[in-house]
Every structure is written in C-alpha cells, then in structure tokens.
C-alpha cells in the first residue's frame, strides 16, 4: 500500500476503518445496522458481507468478508464523475450529492469494489405498503441516482460538533462499528497517532483489498495467516466471491450475477 500517513502534516482528519477478519463471524449485523441507520431501500446494501471459500475438503474454510465503500484516498469514482456529484471531503470521505447525480453509472463501473448502488425505482420492503419507518427516510433517496456508504458522515459531523471523538464515542461512530457483536471494526482518525486505527495500520498487519488498483482504500483488513491467503484471491470481485449467485442460486438482483463490480438495485423484496 502507499504510505497511509502521508497526509499527517495536514490538519485534516483522515477517517479510516480496520476490520479484523479473525473476529468477524459473518452474522451480517453490520449490514442491517447500516440499513436501519441509513434507511437504504430494498436491494441497496451499502455495507454487506461477502463469503469466500478457500481450500478443498477437509482443509477448507469459509471466510466472511464485510465490504462497503473503501473511501479510497484516490477515488476513481470521483475522477470519472461528470457532474461533480461524487466528491471527496477534506477528511477523505467520499460522498455523493444526489442533486447533481445524473445516474450515468460511470462511478459504478469505475469502482472496483461494487460499493455503489443506483436506485432504479422506488420500492418498499412490503409491496404496496410503506412502513412508518420507511416514511422517515426513503424520501432521502432519489430514483436514478447513486448512493453508497459515507462512513455515517452524519454521525461523525454531529458528534464532532458536540466535541465527541469518532471511533471512541458511540454516537459519533459509524453504525456498523458500534453494532458489531465481535468487535471486529475499529474506526478513527488515521492522522491521530494515538488513535486505534493509526496503531493498527502502523502495525503492518493490515491489508487493503485489491491493492493493485492503486486507489489506496481507507478501509483496512486485519487478516493474518490463512485469512490473508483467502483475501489474496481478490475479493470483493463478486464473480469469485462465494455468494449465493456464485453458488448458482436464483437472484432477484442482477447485481450479484453480473460478475463485475457494480450493484444495481432493481428489485428488492423478492416476492413471488
């Protein structure tokens, strides 16, 4: 990886996450905590868990690998965005402004991590019925625009305004991090040498997914031993991930079957 601390001479914070794959049990609690926090409509899973199987019986293991937006230091999605809808904040978080997004999907093609989702139609989890919960947040999503994980920027910003420390104080920390029952996720300011993420990244034990892309993600994985071997297979290119789609299961979303990087939320609740 590139030197992750190269911006330490700058005043900006650099939010980063370390996911300890030896702790993760693949329960998908993060995936649903993200959904609950952000009101993502059917088929849109900013945070999700991929599964990868490595080895032949009996020397075989199933690995759970949580993925989402990698908050790349050099985000390709921002570079290709024709309208400036995708941009990078001073603190490194990559965001999407739906008001500027024209739904061209360039960013979805550019993202090698399948982190971006376009809302193709307004749908609810129960066909023909919008729950009071969904009413609280679905209006935030515009048809034909792209969305993705933003490290729960609203929690970070609100927390900072109260003098709280993201990654330390619960209410200033991303929803997936505070929910993880195995405490697999660590969040904080990479530029703060006292932060846990700085210490973990400095330990030299972390890896990035698809380092060959040179995009320099700010989501790192603690993956010693055989877990590192699993990751060397190149997740999360969904064509080789051990997903229901790869297992030949019929999918309501075409996203998992496309073998590429991007996710298309077209149908959600998979009703007969």
């Amino acid at each position: 990886m590139k030197n992750p601390f190269r911006k330490s001479d700058q005043p900006d914070k650099r939010w980063a996450m370390v996911i300890d794959l030896t702790r993760c049990t693949g329960c998908a609690g993060c995936q649903l905590a993200c959904k609950a926090e952000n009101f993502t409509p059917p088929g849109i899973t900013w945070s999700r868990v991929e599964f990868l199987e490595v080895g032949s019986y009996p020397q075989s293991r199933r690995h759970a690998i949580p993925v989402g937006c990698m908050q790349c230091e050099g985000p390709e999605c921002v570079r290709v965005c024709p309208t400036g809808a995708s941009s990078q904040r001073k603190d490194g978080i990559v965001t999407v402004d739906a008001d500027k997004c024209i739904g061209c999907k360039s960013c979805m093609i550019a993202c090698p991590y399948g982190a971006r989702y376009i809302l193709e139609e307004k749908r609810t989890y129960f066909p023909g019925y919008i729950t009071p919960y969904e009413e609280q947040g679905y209006s935030n999503f515009q048809v034909g625009t792209v969305s993705k994980c933003d490290f729960c920027a609203h929690r970070i910003d609100e927390g900072l305004s109260k003098g709280l420390v993201p990654g330390v104080d619960r209410e200033a920390t991303p929803a997936c991090v505070i929910n993880c029952w195995a405490n697999a996720r660590t969040f904080g300011d990479l530029n703060d040498p006292n932060s846990e993420v700085h210490k973990l990244v400095s330990s030299g034990q972390v890896v990035q997914l698809k380092p060959e892309t040179g995009l320099d993600p700010r989501v790192f994985y603690l993956a010693p031993g055989r877990t590192a071997v699993a990751l060397s297979g190149g997740l999360p290119n969904r064509s080789n991930a051990y997903t229901a789609a790869a297992a030949g299961m019929p999918q309501s979303n075409e996203d998992l079957a496309d073998g590429g990087g991007s996710s298309v939320a077209r149908e959600g609740a998979n009703l007969p």
Partner: protein, 872 residues
C-alpha cells in the same frame, strides 16, 4: 449529498435522562429483544412515535450494546402489514394444512365471550383437558405455563424449537453444571473443544454477549477446536475444524477419554474424589453399594482400608478411585475404575472407523486437551485462590440432536469431569448456577446444594422438575413428561403415536382446548402433515399470535398479541440459566417495556390471561403460583380475593427483588440495573461440596422405575432399556436404514433466523437470499459431483419413511462428504406471511414425530435423517 439523514445524536437513554438531549424530537427507550430466547437488551429510538432504530443497550451486560442481525431487523417485524391486528374467528369448520379458515374479524368482547364459555366448561369438568402451548422463542411466554398450572392443568407444552432444542444438553448441563447449558470460561480458558455447538459465534444463548467474549478469547489466544460435520459459524473461526460423521460425537469423545485415562494416565484425582461420585463403590448391578445403617453410598477409604459412607473420610484424598474391593461378599469397584475400563474399547482406531476422524487426530486432540488442562495449577481471582483448569468441552444442538442424545452429552461431559474443568476458572461453566442476590437485598439468592446421596441439586431450575433428584415416573399429563421424568419437553402432542401411547398408559382424558402463545408446532416440530393430523382433533383452539401461521390456521380464534416492543416483562433474563452471560463481569437485570403503544387491537397476552383468571374464578390460585414463582415478598405479595393489573404485578415483582425505591417507574427510566459478580458466584464449585454423577447411577434407577411403570401398562416392549445404563456408549442413529439412503441430513441454527419465526422479516430475508447457504442444502462438492449435481440444482431429499423435502443444493468443501446441512426450519406455507412463503428448505418435512425417532431416555427428537437425493 442526497441523503438527508436524521442528524440526531446517538445519545442513550441515560443521556436523555440527564437532559443533554432536551428539545430533541426523539427519545431512546431501553427494552429487551424478543426475536429469540436470548432476550438481549436493546434501546429503541422513537421519533414522532415511530421506531427508527434498534441498537443494543450499552448499559446492560446482556449484549453490551451490540445486536445480532435479527435484533436490528425488529423494526420490520413491528411494522409488517401482515401482522394480526384484530381478533379473528374461523368460519370454515374444515381444518387442514392449506385449508383456508375463512377468517372473520370479530371484537375482543365477542372473542372473549366464546373463549371464556369454553374455558369455564372445561375448568368445571376436568381442567387437565386444557393444553397450554407456548413457544420457546419468546422467553416471556414461560409465564403462560404458570397460568395453566393455576387453571389446574399439568399440560403445558413447549413446542417449536423446544423439542429440537436441548433435552440432552439441558439434562446433562443441569446434572453437572446446574445450568441449562454451558460455555467455556471465556476469560480464562485456553483450549475449548466444541461438539456441534456455536456458542459465541452464531445464534443461541446469550449470543450477543458470547460473541464478544469469544472474539476476545480467540484474540487472547484461546485455541478453539470444533468437531462438527460442517465448517459453520464456530468452525469458521476455529483454530482447527475436525470434520466428523453426523451423530458420532460420543465415539470421538469416549475415545478421547480413553486416551486421556488409559494412554496418558491423566486425571484430576483431587477433583474427582471431592466433587464427583468417582469414588462411589458400584456393585455388579450397576448401583451404589450402600451403608446398611445410613443408606449412604460407600467409598473405599484407603486410610482405614474399609468401605465407609462417602462423607466419612476426613480427607477426600483417602477415597480410592481404582481397584476392586470385596464389601460384605460383594465385589465392587469405584465408579472411576469402571469408567476407565469402560472406555478402553473406544480406541482411536475404532473411533476413526466410526467418525472418519484419523486416529492420530483423536490422540493429538486428547493429548492437547489433557495437557492444556494444567491439572494442579491454581489462579488467584479477586483474592481467592482456586484451581485453574483452562479447558472446556462444549456440546449443544448438533451433538445432542440424535437418538443417542443423553449419552452423546454425557460422553462429552466426561472430558470436563476427568480433568476437573467444571465451574472452576478456565473450565466449562454453567450459565450462572449461583447468585448471591442484589447487594442491597440479597435477593434472589440461589446456589447448587448437596442433595440425595451427596449429589448436586440445582439451586434454581427452569422447569418444575429438576434433573436431580428426578421425580418418580407416573401418568398424568398428555405431554407424557411425567412418565419420562428426564425429559425437558416432548413432541407427543403432535406425534403420530400419541393415541397409542395415551391408550397404553390409560390416560383417561383428551385435550378439549388448546391455547397457544406464539408457537407454530406445525412447522417446527417435525413433519407438518403429521402435526396437523394430531392437532386438528382438538375441538377448540385459540392462538395469541403476531402473524397467522400454519398453526393459527388450525385455530378457531386468533387473538392479536403484542410484540416485545409493546409490552412489559420485568424479568426477561430470569432465571439467568442461559440468556445471561456466564463468567466474571456484571450481573444485569433489565426490563422489557413498551417503546410504542400497541398497534391496532393488539393486547398483551399476559394482561388477557390475568383477566381470564379473575373471570373464571381461579385468581387466588394464580396469585399463589405467581407469589411463589416471582419470588414475591411481603408487603408486595398478591393477596387473595383482590384484583391486580399486570403492570401492578410487574411493579411488585421488581420491588420484591430490589426494594421499594427500585420499582417499575425506576426501571422504566433506567432500563437496567447492574452490579458486579463475585468469584464465589461464578466459580461456586470451589466451595460447594455437592458432587456430580460421572457414573450416572440415577439413570439406571430411573430406567428401572420407568420399566416397572411401562410394564404395568404393557408398553415396556416399545423402548430399548439398554439406553438407561450409567456409562455412555456410542450408538448408531439409524442402523437399519437401507444403504441407498447414503447421506445424513441434519439441520443447524442459522444466525439469520429463529426457527421459522423470522422468515417473514424482509431485511433478514434479503440477507439470507444472498447468503450462500442460508436457504440452500449444503452438500460436499465431491459428493455432489459424483452424483452429477451442481450448485443451484433443485433436488428432493427422500427419507427412508417416504418423507420428502425440496431445495436447491449449494456445493461446498466445508461439509463432511456423508452429510447435507440445512439451516433453520425454512419459510412458511401460508399466504399470510408472503415474505416467508416458500423460502429456504423445510427440513422438518423429513422428521417423523413418534417415539421411535426420539432418544428413549430424554425424548429429544432425532434431528438427523438418512436421505437419498434425486434431482428434480
């Protein structure tokens, strides 16, 4: 950016209380989850009367602020438009699977008038004709059984996950650890071996707490060896996965015991002599030799060179564990000597043939376990020096879901016992068998104690009858629990042979009314058609439900129940014998409270049942039972001839434990109260003198008593009496199945679902549909390719009895070649749960519900089936 999210802060209930969030348009309310029996503590964020987020409650040790996917997804269950919101009455008299009841909405008044008339008639005639059915999923429904016992019926049936659940694990866990189940002492254990268990890695007891404890333990360096046909939740995180042929756990465990005792010559003599019946002298009839004067079991005192009552030797070290002694002309051996000889036949080479685990692996794992036990070592915890035995052998669903349920668990438990790793630092811990009470009141206070024959009796137990001393068998209830006193719950109410059994035992009455709270035994016991044929014979059935299930569709009246975020339950963790984390840390007593008002005409079943008790005139009996079960104290006792509201009873229960000031209002505000655990609570074994029966003489005795009863009823030929022997054996589950049934299908608990209950939740469904295995049949890649199957193929599993279950196979290298694994109970058949309909694989279709497919001792259903697979 597009997403104008709720920018509100994340303050917790405590912060709101302190006023730091005053002026906000939302609040956080502390309550308890109710989507599986773990009952983890939650906080719900309510904005303008709408639940917008559910998180774990960081103030409570029950989950410590973390939440599994089911808990997070509770919002979607709360707002599901398919919920039952009004009482319904069937208008179609025909009942059957898939038969439309033709529901007609009625008022609560109308419904209660009909129900009370029926109940009154049965109450006056023979109250035993009422059967109270409850789910094990929502732990509060335990209260329903209290109500029916006050009504006068012994027929409380725990259905659903219950009969698949833990009859073996609960029985052996109760006998040895005074607890419903066991976990490694995650803080101190260095080597844990799991047999068909996922503790700390998947769904189950104290899951949110255990996941954190297990992850920390693994990070600390605890080695985890998982013996399981499938590399699933725990095995995926394990140091080592040991794939085993389905249902052969006892062979592996007994071989390990053999290696430890006979090849390595390792055991914890001090522990065995002081804390078990290892030194009790056993006669040729497999019973204790007893002192004629006191009737106490005898031990051989090496100091006196004589047989003396077990409690006579001044130093327990004088008790002999080995040898043969002649006592009054009878040749007797210490129980330990018998065990040591008994396991010799379980050589690692024999175990390899049975389990497919290489003999060298058996020897290596046994050696690691014995070495890591560090027999003789001690540790100081908060000033107390105690033995340190940092190994644990853990068993649950997988190893105990067989016809050999009792012996499988007993065999594995021997591993903990021979090295003394039992409720001591580092070892296998029961879930909170001892509690010294809230410091200000010393309530509740319980601890295992010395009972009959010097053996341990639980201080507190979940069921009315304890594992030891067991009740004498008798015939009374329709569930037949009285005739099989070592069971935790039976499936007979839904069984195909129930009439045969009732007739044989002369049960002179039949169910007239069934009242259900939340269970769905049509899908969660065994073959649905079998269950329906049994249940539809009951003349009048009422169900308190959140959703219309396949069971509700057999009912005459369905009542809309409140879910966990709409009602009070002031002791969701009590008794804390499985859903409160074990080990050192904090005690937590949270409450469940409504975070929103009940929607529609939903009513709390507890309020309704209380009202019915008063209207039917058994309020005094109900008060008496509640006073006892809720540990109510003066002046908060429920008095005769008075009427109380359910909320008032909740208030009295809290005051009885915590005193006047910590009443319901206090708990509503604070959500939970905590206090530190003491080493003498967690590691109670160190000071409690009671012994545990590594030679399960009580099993032999029970077999003799049951045989006598069964012979009186000409039923003795229906069970294999060899299964009541005190020393465990490995027994093949299905020795007579034809060879073309070449695979063992088993079901496991999925982390994404609770039995059949949660399949209707669209968030969980969305995750499960994309999971490689959640909704599929996991099949070994090489086995499948040999059969010409590829991932995604729809297949039918055929059982030897002609049952079928359909699903899609997923090829994987993470399962034994002889096995196919299916997660959860699968989705629903009814159109009333449209998200759940047709999802997953309904494994239970394959299960016969009859005595021949249960462990004859504890009546656990055999949850593995030999199958052949055909491509559709």
């Amino acid at each position: 950016m597009s997403i104008k999210l709720d920018k509100s802060s994340h303050a917790l209930s405590v912060a709101s209380k302190n006023g730091s969030d005053s002026g906000k348009d939302y609040e956080w309310k502390a309550s308890a989850c109710g989507l599986c029996y773990a009952q983890c503590s939650i906080v719900a964020k309510v904005k303008n009367g709408v639940i917008v987020k559910i998180e774990g409650n960081p103030d409570s040790p029950i989950g410590s602020g973390r939440l599994c996917p089911k808990g997070v997804a509770g919002i979607m269950m709360h707002y599901d438009p398919n919920r039952v919101n009004t009482p319904l009455m069937r208008t179609n008299p025909e009942k059957g699977l898939g038969v439309d009841p033709k529901w007609k909405p009625i008022s609560w008044d109308e419904a209660e008038t009909i129900i009370l008339e029926k109940l009154r008639a049965v109450h006056e005639d023979d109250p035993r004709k009422l059967v109270l059915l409850r789910t094990t999923t929502i732990a509060t429904t335990r209260e329903a059984g209290i109500w029916s016992s006050a009504f006068g019926s012994p027929n409380s049936w725990d259905a659903g996950g219950g009969v698949h659940c833990g009859n073996g694990a609960h029985l052996i866990g109760g006998l040895f650890h005074a607890s419903w189940s066991l976990v490694p002492d995650f803080h101190n254990c260095n080597y844990a071996i799991y047999f068909g268990a996922s503790k700390g890695h998947g769904a189950g007891h104290s899951s949110n707490s255990n996941a954190q404890l297990a992850a920390d333990a693994r990070a600390r360096g605890m080695r985890l060896v998982v013996v399981d046909p499938m590399c699933n939740f725990a095995a995926s995180k394990a140091t080592e996965w040991v794939p085993i042929r389905v249902g052969t756990d006892a062979a592996f465990a007994l071989s390990m015991v053999n290696v430890i005792l006979n090849e390595l010559g390792v055991w914890d003599g001090e522990y065995l002599k002081a804390k078990t019946n290892a030194g009790y002298l056993i006669g040729p009839d497999s019973h204790y030799l007893r002192d004629p004067a006191t009737n106490k079991p005898l031990v051989w005192d090496t100091n006196k060179n004589a047989a003396v009552p077990y409690d006579m030797p001044v130093n327990t070290s004088d008790i002999s564990l080995l040898g043969t002694y002649s006592v009054n002309g009878i040749q007797a051996q210490p129980a330990f000597n018998l065990i040591k000889d008994h396991v010799r036949k379980y050589t690692p080479e024999f175990a390899e043939q049975v389990t497919t685990i290489p003999a060298e692996t058996v020897r290596r794992v046994a050696t690691e376990f014995a070495t890591q036990a560090r027999i003789g070592s001690t540790i100081e915890i908060e000033g107390q020096t105690m033995p340190l035995r940092p190994v644990a052998a853990i068993y649950f669903r997988g190893s105990q879901g067989h016809r050999n349920s009792t012996w499988n668990c007993l065999a594995i438990e021997l591993l903990n016992q021979v090295v003394g790793a039992s409720d001591l630092p580092g070892g296998a811990l029961g879930f909170n068998p001892a509690m010294q009470g809230f410091p200000e009141t010393s309530v509740p206070r319980y601890e295992p104690f010395t009972s009959t024959d010097g053996l341990m009796e639980t201080g507190l137990w979940i069921k009315a009858h304890k594992p030891f001393p067991a009740n004498d068998p008798k015939v009374n209830s329709l569930t037949m629990e009285d005739a099989w006193p070592l069971t935790v719950g039976t499936g007979f109410m839904a069984a195909s042979d129930r009439e045969e059994i009732w007739n044989a035992f002369g049960v002179g009455y039949r169910p007239e009314i069934m009242i259900n709270v939340g269970a769905n035994p049509v899908l969660t016991v065994g073959n649905p058609q079998t269950a329906v044929e049994a249940l539809k014979t009951i003349p009048f059935m009422v169900s308190f439900d959140l959703f219309i299930s396949e069971f509700s569709e057999l009912c005459d009246i369905v009542l809309p129940d409140t879910e966990y975020m709409e009602r009070f339950d002031v002791a969701p963790q009590f008794p804390p014998l499985h859903d409160h984390p074990a080990g050192m840390g904090e005690w937590g007593w949270p409450i469940r409270q409504p975070v929103v008002e009940p929607f529609g005409e939903r009513r709390d079943f507890q309020e309704v049942l209380l009202k019915w008790a008063y209207e039917l005139g058994f309020g005094n009996q109900y008060h008496a039972v509640l006073n006892k079960r809720y540990l109510l104290r003066d002046p908060w006792l429920l008095e005769p001839d008075k009427k109380y509201s359910w909320v008032d009873i909740c208030d009295r229960r809290l005051k009885s434990v915590f005193g006047e000031d910590r009443n319901l209002e206090w708990f509503k505000e604070n959500g939970v109260i905590t206090w530190p655990k003491k080493p003498s609570e967690v590691y109670w074994r160190h000071h409690v003198t009671a012994r545990v029966p590594i030679f399960y003489e009580g099993l032999k005795t029970m077999g003799e008593k049951q045989r006598k009863l069964f012979e009186e009823h000409n039923f003795a030929h229906r069970v294999d009496w060899s299964r009541w022997e005190p020393l465990p054996e490995w027994v093949e589950c299905h020795p007579d199945d034809p060879p073309e049934y070449d695979l063992s299908a088993f079901y496991y608990r999925d982390v994404l679902h609770t039995n059949s209950f949660t399949y209707e939740n669209p968030w969980l469904n969305e995750v499960a549909e994309k999971h490689p295995l959640s909704y599929t049949i996991a099949m070994n890649r090489a086995t499948a390719e040999r059969k010409g199957l590829k991932s995604g193929d729809e297949v039918t599993m055929h059982s030897p009895t002609g049952r079928k279950a359909v699903g899609r196979v997923a090829l994987t290298d993470t399962i034994h070649p002889d096995a196919v694994g299916i997660g959860g109970c699968g989705g629903h058949m009814t159109s009333s749960q449209p998200i759940a309909k047709g999802k997953g694989v309904r494994f239970n279709e394959l299960l016969e519900i009859d005595l021949d497919h249960m462990d004859p001792v504890n009546l656990n259903m055999d949850v593995c089936v030999r199958v052949k697979i055909t491509k559709n």
